[in-house]
Symmetry: C2
Subunit: 370 residues, 2 copies
């Protein structure tokens, strides 16, 4: 890739100034510079197909007030999952890859990076894989259930019954996503393009999934159903959704051809019965560097603690006969990767390692699959 | 296009059954059939570039409670606009087209249709135009300001201070979007793919823009800035955003090369000074059929009344020397188009008329533009 149309040599300096101003709370607008930063690849992207569709969804009847008081009550659809896809022209028979984003983010995570480089979505397509990028149920283009908010507004439900909306602050992202120990002070070897951290800030959207989704989380079944509709897929989750591929596999392991857990927020302590299911699918866990850095969120464990929980899960899976591996870049001399590893400056180097693992480990399609 | 991978002859009948069940309030899930309906074009889509970026956005400082009570208070970005784009390999020099969606919807409106056909986004790219599809500020991947909701939840703001979230019911969409006079009973000549109306239902997301956005609506400046960053663009709005291209042109008419208002919710009564600005850019208004059908929303005018307000605006613009036209398909013998004209069965026929108008009327790029 090269910056064919919009490259400007002075941009990093300008951006870093803007970043520090943002972090330090300077008033005023964020520079609208993202379009100028977009890089154009040297070769065209040739797609057999692209577009979007939905998975799942249930009808619900809601009152006039719940619908916003404009028209009478009636039915809407809830818990559907929006999915955008690209199928490469020369990818017939290659395993589809589903990429699920983390907390307070959307499918945008996998698209163009904050500093304008190609996202993993396009890179995996260029490597021959059909790619499917959802917005989690409750987020972005998948929508959410607004009924309780309108009921609270109308006085017919108590305010405390309303679920919380989570956002991560720009200051909090630095230690929690491990760009640096303090805002504006990146680790010397940080791979995150910190000069463009204000562009990552724009990716943030309110997250209602801490109390505003049904139980079990409808994303699990939606991802399982999507893998089934694709006649088998590699499911990749990140952070909040890092464990979603495991949960989807527990619903229909035959539909999963591989699970990739990128910086998962948790690796659950599954029952022996669940382990017996999960050993049927190859699993790769990927973590970045600087995991001991305090997250700034005292109620949450460090990323090192989560790494160790995943190591324990992988060991249990291997003991039970599973193919379960940790990809720990520092073990290979690759240092400085952040929590937003798909946006790091060396993101294609990490992608290549995952693609190699998929090539070597993803299961064959089911018999009779198209 | 043909249904290369997934076509099934029996699908319309199945879908119509599901539709009626949904409309009539039958309990249970909506069939997860959308992926199976996707049609694959006969020829590949060759892109010079694709990806996403943001326009605008301002930093705001929020409290711990406003951010969802997980970490300390800090800064986030608000009022940014997410934009997804595709640039055709062979489209250098062609005018970019920006497509903005309507109320309770997202940029998905312009992507794959509810019954799996190519969306206008891809079609315009295949016709040589770079295409940019935003999510309105406050919607989808652009996020919204969650602070007031968390303050209400915490008891520090009164419930009535919370903005309303609007959704359209499935039943209400039939008369308001003019698929038919009553739910489940399409007009005999309806162009909307009513068998897939449950897929349109899945496109619905809560809309906070009736009280939850700053004044003036930040979408106006974001669209104006986007057109400027593109060194000139055709701005296309739909329904709620039908008048946004006019408002963006009033901020920087030089950045607009043409305005296309598809079924605009309103054509404002502009001042003579505003008219003097708007005559500088060619304007096309597009409406569908059955505009006299009562909308089912007594507080809102019929679409015929809005059509007539737009005719009045176009007449004023022409009197002042502007190039301002109405595209009224029934005048050309094209009957049955709905409010969701970009998803109608004859959507490419309508697109061709708009493309012809753009080819004949869009202004040349500004001097010095790349």
């Amino acid at each position: 890739m090269r910056g064919e149309r919009f490259s400007k040599l002075c941009r990093p300096a300008i951006l870093f100034g803007a970043t520090l101003a943002g972090v330090l709370g300077t008033a005023g607008g964020v520079r609208a510079q993202a379009l100028e930063d977009l890089q154009t690849p040297d070769t065209p992207l040739v797609l057999k197909a692209q577009g979007s569709f939905f998975v799942g969804g249930e009808k619900a009847e809601q009152t006039k007030v719940e619908l916003g008081d404009l028209g009478p009550g009636g039915h809407i659809t809830l818990n559907q999952m929006y999915v955008r896809y690209m199928v490469p022209q020369n990818g017939a028979g290659n395993v589809p890859v589903v990429m699920v984003h983390g907390a307070t983010l959307t499918g945008k995570s996998w698209e163009t990076t904050p500093d304008g480089r190609m996202g993993w979505d396009e890179y995996f397509v260029r490597k021959g894989h059909p790619v499917y990028v959802p917005d989690q149920v409750g987020r972005g283009r998948s929508g959410f259930n607004q009924a309780i908010f309108n009921n609270v507004r109308a006085g017919s439900a108590p305010p405390a019954s309303q679920p919380v909306w989570l956002r991560f602050s720009d200051e909090g992202v630095w230690p929690n996503f491990r760009f640096g120990a303090k805002p504006g002070l990146p680790f010397p070897d940080s791979q995150f393009p910190v000069a463009a951290v204000d562009e990552l800030s724009k990716q943030g959207v309110p997250d209602v999934s801490f109390g505003g989704l049904p139980t079990p989380n409808p994303n699990f079944k939606a991802l399982s159903d999507l893998a089934g509709q694709l006649n088998g897929a590699v499911l990749m989750g990140h952070s909040q959704s890092g464990s979603f591929p495991l949960e989807a596999a527990l619903l229909d392991v035959a539909a999963t051809r591989g699970l990739v857990l990128v910086e998962p927020g948790r690796c659950p302590a599954y029952t022996p019965e669940q382990i017996a299911t999960l050993v049927k699918v190859p699993i790769l866990v990927v973590f970045g560097d600087h995991r001991d850095n305090p997250t700034g969120l005292p109620t949450l464990p460090t990323w090192q603690a989560r790494f160790e929980a995943c190591q324990a899960l992988l060991a249990r899976l291997r003991s039970a006969g599973g193919q379960a591996e940790m990809l720990n870049p520092p073990d290979r001399g690759i240092r400085g990767n952040s929590h937003m590893i798909m946006q790091d400056r060396n993101h294609l180097q990490i992608a290549d390692l995952i693609l190699q693992w998929i090539g070597e480990h993803a299961r064959r399609p089911r018999a009779g699959a198209k």
